[in-house]
Symmetry: C2
Subunit: 143 residues, 2 copies
């Protein structure tokens, strides 16, 4: 895997990986919507195409942002899980939530309300830690 980076800027380099329509959506689905299998992602609200999903998952696995594993009692379903590198994207997801709530809501009339947005803003660090701990607890059975 030879990633081509545009220049020596750390922010631009992060966006060389994360800056597209799907990567952070997939991370979000794993982190806060419990999506784990190919089918889970295919069936979610954003309706990603199978070909794109396959290529993005491969990319994320190569970058070690996610892992792909199988359960001993099921040879059919693959389980995709966030690594520490993937979990470390939580603060970015939280900041996207906050910016969106304050600045995108007015443009998207169907946007859902997040009851947790107030606590998210008032105590960001606690909220980020909660999301991460929650994810680890829920996925512990798979590792």
């Amino acid at each position: 895997m030879d990633y081509k980076f545009r220049c020596n800027c750390p922010i631009t380099s992060a966006l060389d990986i994360l800056g597209d329509k799907w990567i952070l959506v997939i991370i979000k689905q794993m982190l806060i919507e419990d999506k784990k299998t190919f089918k889970d992602f295919i069936e979610s609200d954003e309706s990603i195409a199978a070909s794109i999903l396959a290529s993005k998952l491969k990319c994320l696995e190569e970058l070690e942002i996610i892992t792909k594993t199988q359960l001993p009692d099921n040879k059919k379903s693959n389980i995709y899980l966030l690594t520490e590198k993937g979990l470390a994207l939580t603060p970015i997801i939280v900041e996207l939530s906050i910016w969106s709530d304050e600045n995108v809501r007015e443009l998207n009339s169907i946007m859902r309300e997040s009851p947790e947005i107030a606590i998210m803003k008032s105590d960001k660090n606690t909220f980020i830690q909660m999301i991460k701990d929650n994810y680890k607890t829920k996925t512990a059975i798979f590792s």
Copy 2:
């Protein structure tokens, strides 16, 4: 301007706007590299094509993330400036920096060191406020 949003998720909706290869790069160039004119962006390290730059700037202006103004003494150069909505993206830029420093550096051998990364991590809120204040001070003469 009718933006098409994929679904009712706030995070996905934010990414419907920000999730591409260029938008956040342009914001970063304005926020921390003092880029203001079409020429400034064209000449920067990321080497964006003129046609793409024009379309992204128009898009950002329509979304009221940036404004386009002229100086009374120069009818040639247009000055692009971040609005409050654009400045509110600072926390996202900072989190991208931190994630990149910790997780992308190993993949991009030419990535530049940021001496400010330590203070950025130790006191995020102060750093974010500093970047925003700094931007406002530097651009005050244009408004």
